[in-house]
């Protein structure tokens, strides 16, 4: 390990002479080796092997779902172990699902609801996290403690009281009924507050000396530095909302207001064994999420690169 240096590109060269630019490139291009593990050939091979093995393990069940969606219903329910179906691959499951008619409506509903919930949640959570992390006001500690404690509340328990509330507010079977209860995300406030805590006070003080008020500090100092965590929070909220089943299921009965998971479940319930259709439906429901994640993934990496400060 003694011949090892931090950059594989400059073997044997003392670390201290490495220009800043090289260090930057190494971190952010994603192509250059990072010193979090070893840098020699053996650690690389071992890393590749470990990564490949874990990737296969993690992708196999996923691949199984994709595989099943291209089978006939007979094959999908008959054999648990065959990747290649006896009757050959078919698009039947997808055709049936698209034949249901309401699919585009459900997709639009899912997008509208997930986007609204994500936007509202990120906005109000970031503001609250800023208040808890960076300002002093009466009751701050108590309110934050209550917020953190409420992470423990299992959502299943709140369904009945929430439904009664929506009845009282005359909101059942509206977008508002689906969206509003979902924007309360204490866990996200907690994550953001922890991140804001790590942003150096000196930056804020410099801004204050320049005459910036609280809002200015929030908007021009804290938010730009927090893009990676904001992106991460947005992704998690979006995914959770997209996949949420129980609340949209209970708060909507009009097929025109259903989200994809709820709508597809009403299709599924009408008859018996539908492994292939269920798989196809789930893949259709997951593809938009994969796209969103891949878009945001780039954003996460990029924003960490430009801020370079992060959450420590």
């Amino acid at each position: 390990m003694t011949t090892e240096t931090l950059s594989p590109r400059t073997p044997g060269k003392p670390r201290s002479t490495m220009p800043r630019e090289v260090v930057r490139r190494r971190r952010y291009s994603g192509r250059v080796w990072h010193p979090s593990l070893g840098t020699g050939p053996l650690p690389r091979v071992l890393t590749l092997l470990a990564l490949a093995l874990m990737t296969v393990v993690w992708l196999v069940p996923f691949g199984w779902g994709v595989d099943t969606s291209f089978k006939t219903e007979v094959d999908a329910s008959a054999s648990g172990a065959d990747w290649i179906p006896k009757a050959g691959f078919t698009l039947d499951a997808y055709r049936t699902i698209f034949g249901q008619g309401n699919l585009p409506v459900w997709a639009v509903n899912s997008v509208v609801i997930a986007v609204c919930v994500t936007a509202i949640t990120v906005a109000i959570s970031a503001m609250a996290a800023y208040a808890f992390s960076r300002t002093l006001f009466r009751g701050r500690r108590v309110l934050f403690a209550v917020t953190v404690a409420s992470i423990m509340v299992p959502p299943q328990i709140l369904i009945v009281p929430l439904f009664r509330q929506m009845l009282a507010l005359n909101l059942v079977d509206t977008y508002a009924a689906v969206i509003l209860p979902q924007v309360v995300a204490p866990a996200m406030v907690f994550i953001l507050k922890k991140f804001f805590d790590g942003i150096p006070r000196e930056l804020e003080e410099a801004a204050r000396i320049d005459g910036a008020g609280s809002f200015r500090v929030f908007w021009s100092v804290v938010l730009p530095l927090s893009r990676p965590i904001l992106a991460a929070v947005a992704i998690f909220v979006f995914i959770n909302t997209w996949n949420n089943f129980l609340w949209p299921f209970i708060s909507t009965s009009d097929p025109q207001l259903m989200t994809l998971p709820v709508g597809l479940s009403t299709v599924k319930d009408s008859t018996g064994l539908r492994n292939a259709q269920e798989s196809a439906a789930s893949i259709l429901g997951s593809v938009p999420l994969l796209i969103v994640f891949m878009l945001f993934q780039r954003q996460i990496v990029k924003s960490v690169a430009t801020t370079g400060l992060g959450g420590q």
């Binding site: 979090s36 409420s150 423990m152 006070r201 990676p228 996949n243 960490v304």
Partner: protein, 316 residues
């Protein structure tokens, strides 16, 4: 090697809590009193309306014999429900299952996520593929997870037993044997949810400043030394955060168990939330279900406060 991480920590400590707050307090009070409330209000309004109020309604119901059908009329019964809950063996058994599930899942969900993030963050080509591979399962709705794994777990034709057969091991009754059912559920949960923790670790790794590694290399630190003395200490805050969030998430387990085993075999995997759900929605005893859920709340809130105390002490 401690000399590498210590100055950084000392620098961070310089701007830490107390000193920072005193300065922030001074600026805040002089320039913009009440700004904190302004920022917190939108969240607090939603929080109160859609979390605190329903909790309050639930608490009220726990003192009544409220019911979904005609059996209870919603009249006050005082502490009867609570007295019944503490003497209910089902409550203790399902609570035990919930704690066992939490123990089984928390450690792997932290460690595997850490290993994944460390391996990916080395800079191995194909970053997007690794990230997607480990995170994709987190994108699946629980119904899909159920469907895939119930096929993989099939005793006769399932893929897992097929694999075991290659190694000459007899098939396991993954979901129907009391010995294995909870482990199988934990396995599914690890596969399904580890991507979330993986991403949090990945973000934290990216936030470790380069100069720490530069200094470490100057001091002649090898790979393991850097891992032990730079990377892992820098990840401590994140590890604490992930552990806290994971325990809370695991205690709330319901969906995958309800779908995969319905709490069986013989109640071996039945979590307390399923008991509450069954009591409320199958037996229509909303009042009693509310009381059991408040007993559960009490326990987990005590637990989480204890956890946060330990965690924040370690941080300073």
């Amino acid at each position: 090697m401690a000399s590498v991480s210590t100055p950084a920590r000392r620098a961070a400590a310089g701007s830490s809590r107390r000193a920072g707050f005193r300065r922030a307090a001074a600026t805040d009070r002089t320039r913009s009193g009440g700004a904190g409330w302004l920022f917190a209000t939108p969240f607090l309004v939603f929080f109160t309306l859609f979390l605190i109020v329903p909790i309050g309604i639930g608490l009220w119901m726990s003192f009544t014999n409220a019911s979904l059908t005609g059996h209870g009329d919603g009249t006050l019964v005082g502490l009867d429900n609570y007295a019944e809950a503490f003497g209910d063996s089902q409550v203790w058994q399902t609570l035990g299952n919930t704690v066992w599930f939490t123990v089984l899942t928390t450690v792997p969900l932290v460690l595997v996520a850490l290993v994944m993030a460390l391996l990916v963050y080395t800079g191995m080509p194909g970053q997007w593929l690794w990230r997607l591979a480990f995170f994709a399962s987190h994108l699946l709705p629980v119904a899909v997870v159920y469907q895939i794994w119930s096929m993989l777990f099939q005793p006769d034709r399932g893929m897992l037993n097929g694999l075991l057969k290659i190694f000459g091991i007899d098939g396991i009754a993954w979901l129907t044997d009391e010995k294995y059912a909870m482990w199988s559920i934990a396995l599914v949960t690890l596969w399904w949810t580890v991507g979330f923790n993986f991403l949090l670790y990945l973000a934290a790794l990216q936030a470790i400043p380069d100069h720490l590694y530069e200094a470490a290399a100057l001091d002649g630190a090898g790979a393991w030394r850097r891992l032990w003395s730079v990377t892992l200490p820098q990840l401590r805050r994140t590890t604490g955060l992930i552990a806290v969030l994971q325990v809370m998430a695991s205690l709330k387990v319901f969906d995958q168990i309800y779908l995969l085993t319905k709490g069986g075999p013989n109640g071996a995997t039945r979590p307390i939330l399923e008991y509450i759900y069954d009591t409320g929605f199958t037996n229509y005893r909303l009042g009693y279900a509310s009381a059991v859920s408040y007993v559960f709340f009490g326990l987990i809130i005590i637990l989480s406060i204890a956890q946060l105390k330990i965690f924040s002490r370690r941080e300073d």
